[in-house]
Symmetry: C2
Amino acid sequence: MQRYFSNQLDDNKLILGDDDWYHIKTVMRMNNNDKIEVVYHSELYLCEINNQDIRIIKKLEKRIDINKEIVLVIPLLRENKMDLILQKATELGVNIIIPIKMERSIIQLSSDKEDKRINRWNRICKEASEQSHRMDIPQITDIKTFSDLDKMDGLKIVCSTREEEMNLKKFLTNHQNYDRIIIVVGPEGGLTIDEENYLVDIGFNPVSLGNKIMRVETVPLFLLSVWNYENME
Amino acid sequence: MQRYFSNQLDDNKLILGDDDWYHIKTVMRMNNNDKIEVVYHSELYLCEINNQDIRIIKKLEKRIDINKEIVLVIPLLRENKMDLILQKATELGVNIIIPIKMERSIIQLSSDKEDKRINRWNRICKEASEQSHRMDIPQITDIKTFSDLDKMDGLKIVCSTREEEMNLKKFLTNHQNYDRIIIVVGPEGGLTIDEENYLVDIGFNPVSLGNKIMRVETVPLFLLSVWNYENME
């Protein structure tokens, strides 16, 4: 069943945005009495389309999800790579995405373009959340710098290209108790030595992903797949 | 360093295809004395461009790879999804890809288009192999039917949408000794009950990937990521 997100409840009716109505009427060609699911304040409702309203029929039971948080720290990338990461990371359960200005990142956004870009990213994550029937939409922060990571709590990992570092499997086997995991992925040319050293200084653990040469947009999907796998019960 | 594949050795010179020469001259704008790596018969050579020749300088040591084989059985999908799977699966180390006509697959290829399509798929895998510095190119078989899987040996898995099935982590924890793993991924609408039952009859183990709702093209990447992770040493 099609799923949407709402921020507003009014007299047993959930209010949807114009984009959602466009999707319902024009893309899905739904009619009166057709059923949809709507997430409102982290609760899931079975609803019915009734003229211009979305009427709640009943509250539904939620799917149980992993009760650990995963934060991805990623470089600014070309649009098609960024879109792929955002869509797939949302499917695979990412909670927070922090885009960072990294030294070797090819993309440099002027600050007037930042807001527009972040809006676009949020839209991609919202649509992917609906499609993958999530109960929430991942949070994308403003574009930050590495020093902003200084005060974040959690199990901290930086994907290192130094092959001598402990590999991800050994690391996660030794670190199973955490509420939040924060993983930094470098840009195409890798993190600079200074960047990696700085991250280690503020508590990030350098971890190797093995000897495969992956494109940068593959790495977050690899990490999130492993994270889901490790949290299967 | 840029990597290419060759099938022919002639008097200490490795012969490359026209596509490769186009890439060397026009895309990479390389010149005489520039160095490249060439894989020939699963051996890696450092080579030098010398007019119209690729001269071997020396044999290089190989990167150690996972000594288990992974076979992905996938449905026919729309071109953009297929391309993404082929590119990423190659990066992540797939050995054999078997495209299958599945009942709920939207794409039906006429046999005169099959050859053209398989050529295209092979080209994508070759390019991805070069980019990810593989020592081999994944093999893509002809388009097959499920009954062709009957005689294949290996640890056999079918990704099931039945949530009550054993999950992948438990399954792989119980099955660590195998030379080859064969995994079937269903199309957008899932396998039919008859298809899944048939696969179980010929020895495939139904396994659940958890409660995430993934797009069909995400599933092979998820599986290959897990496979790489499980084989980290």
